[in-house]
């Protein structure tokens, strides 16, 4: 190479050579990638009866007419208080996964403890085609596709209809109008194009978008033409709270057509699922 001043320098080539020495490094990289992938894999653990039904069906799918997914502590609390409070629901499975925010137990077969963030499945005893999923753990973006494929892949597409209830902070709701305190919490809906019925609340306005598990489920339903409706509840409280849970009540109209629901709810039952944060109540006077 000739330099500016006229001398000639010998330059080392920066071309990559296909050497045998590099193979080990590549193997190591591949190995590390594989390990990370295995660690982050999403596993569904079904109870023995459901695992048996899956095997018995030719296509490894369950017959399901309605799948109700609750994403977030308030949505899950609403289902626990208003739907799962009768004795006719069986826990039939859970999803075990690991990511930086959701360090699930390393052994998949152990069911999560009650109160821990987890992803649980329940099936109604009298109407086994109705499945409820409560998801309170964080599912990383790279795991969402796997979760959706594995869970919805276990269910027969024909006759399936999906409802998703999801929580979101109202700070993420974009609107040109000022939101008065009395308006919060409130519901907004989104549907897949296969969903025919009327949603029970206004549709989510632009430019608001969904992210995370609700978005993954709704996208899957849109692609596979499964009727799906999503109710997003915007709330200004960060912990499970009974007023936010009551905002989901319009969904009870659809749910009561599927399963028998407890007609009235005592305040004690609701209080069990809502955390009355003492710190919060002393912070503001």
């Amino acid at each position: 190479m000739a330099t500016f001043f006229g001398e000639v320098l010998s330059v080392y080539s920066r071309a990559v050579e296909e050497d045998d020495d590099d193979l080990d490094d590549e193997n190591e990289d591949e190995r590390i990638h594989r390990e990370i992938e295995e660690k982050r894999e999403v596993h569904i653990v079904w109870c023995p009866e459901v695992a048996q039904s899956l095997e018995d069906s030719g296509s490894n799918t369950l017959q399901c007419s309605d799948l109700i997914i609750a994403v977030g502590t308030n949505a899950a609390g609403f289902l626990s208080a208003y739907v799962l409070n009768t004795e006719s629901w069986d826990a039939v499975g859970h999803v075990s996964l690991w990511n930086e925010r959701s360090r699930g137990s390393s052994r998949q077969s152990i069911a999560p403890l009650p109160g821990e963030p987890a992803c649980l499945f329940y099936r109604h005893r009298d109407n086994p085609a109705v499945l409820v999923c409560q998801s309170t753990c964080y599912i990383a973006e790279d795991q969402l596709f796997q979760w959706t494929e594995k869970v919805l892949g276990c269910l027969q597409k024909r006759g399936l209809s999906v409802m998703v209830l999801s929580d979101s902070p109202v700070a993420e709701y974009k609107t040109p109008d000022y939101l008065y305190g009395s308006a919060v919490p409130f519901l907004r809906s989104l549907k897949s194009s296969a969903s025919k019925g009327q949603a029970l609340c206004p549709a989510l306005e632009q430019p608001n978008i969904l992210t995370g598990l609700p978005a993954a489920v709704l996208s899957h339903c849109q692609v596979h033409q499964i009727p799906a409706v999503l109710y997003q509840c915007y709330t200004d409280v960060i912990s499970p709270d009974s007023i936010t849970m009551e905002t989901y009540k319009p969904a009870l109209l659809c749910l009561s057509k599927l399963v028998k629901l407890e007609p009235c709810l005592s305040a004690d039952v609701l209080r069990k699922f809502a955390i009355i944060t003492e710190a919060q109540s002393n912070l503001y006077t």
Partner: protein
């Protein structure tokens, strides 16, 4: 959210100080307080906070005396209020010692508001998350009601409300604050209770009331007195309804 809402000392391109505006949202998380300026009386009414079972109720107070003739009610962050109240109390006494006169309500309000404004222009400090209603009598006997907010502004009012459902209460006051409504001390107190009953659930037992009469110290009403007044108000409402029914039938 926009990138101009993190630091207190940064204006947004359209002139907002977002941190100050967010501090005003913190005020809305506190329960409602209402202030009424009568002819010979000033009234402060607050919605009592629900107290935990093992908590001493009397240590959870929204109405505090700043001096013998001035008191204030606040809405917002409890700890911030404590700091502001302490500084105001010290200033009241310092003023008495220095100038040998009690503070005027406007003076102490200006002091509190200046303190709050300082915290909106300082690096590394956030604004106080409280609004205050300051009431009292000046030494010339004039009743005063002032309101301050986290930005450090203060204004005099005839009647105002702060906190959770302040807008509803203010609208009620705009309709119902008339010279007749505050003609007597009792009427002024009842107006404050009526305003609070618009937004307080479960009636009189969730209301705290304080009054200052000219040349008299601050008086916190007992719950029995409040219940009696609430009963009077209910009766008056029923009488109104009866009268209207009779008018319709004749």
């Amino acid at each position: 959210m926009s990138i101009y809402d993190r630091a207190i000392t940064v204006f947004s391109p359209d002139g907002h100080l977002f941190q100050v505006e967010y501090a005003q949202e913190a005020v809305k998380k506190g329960s409602t307080a209402v202030g009424i300026r009568g002819k010979d009386i000033v009234v402060l009414g607050v919605e009592k906070k629900s107290v935990a079972k093992l908590q001493e109720e009397r240590t959870v107070r929204k109405i505090c005396a700043l001096d013998e003739h001035v008191c204030m009610a606040f809405a917002g962050l409890t700890a911030d209020a404590r700091i502001v109240i302490n500084r105001a109390r010290v200033e009241c006494q310092s003023h008495r010692l220095t100038v040998e006169d009690p503070v005027t309500v406007e003076y102490i309000t200006r002091h509190i508001a200046t303190l709050k404004q300082r915290y909106t222009q300082s690096n590394g400090r956030r604004p106080f998350g409280i609004s205050a209603l300051i009431v009292g009598f000046d030494y010339d006997g004039t009743p005063r009601l002032y309101q301050t907010d986290p930005s450090g502004t203060y204004h005099a009012w005839k009647a105002n409300a702060i906190g959770r459902s302040a807008k509803t209460v203010r609208e009620f006051l705009e309709k119902n604050y008339t010279d007749e409504a505050i003609a007597t001390d009792n009427e002024a107190i009842k107006l404050a209770i009526k305003a609070l009953l618009e937004v307080v659930q479960s009636g009189g037992k969730n209301i705290d009331l304080a009054v200052i009469r000219r040349n008299q110290p601050l008086k916190l009403l007992e719950s029995k007195e409040i219940e009696t007044l609430v009963a009077e108000i209910e009766k008056e409402k029923e009488d109104e309804v009866e009268k209207k029914k009779q008018k319709k039938s004749t």
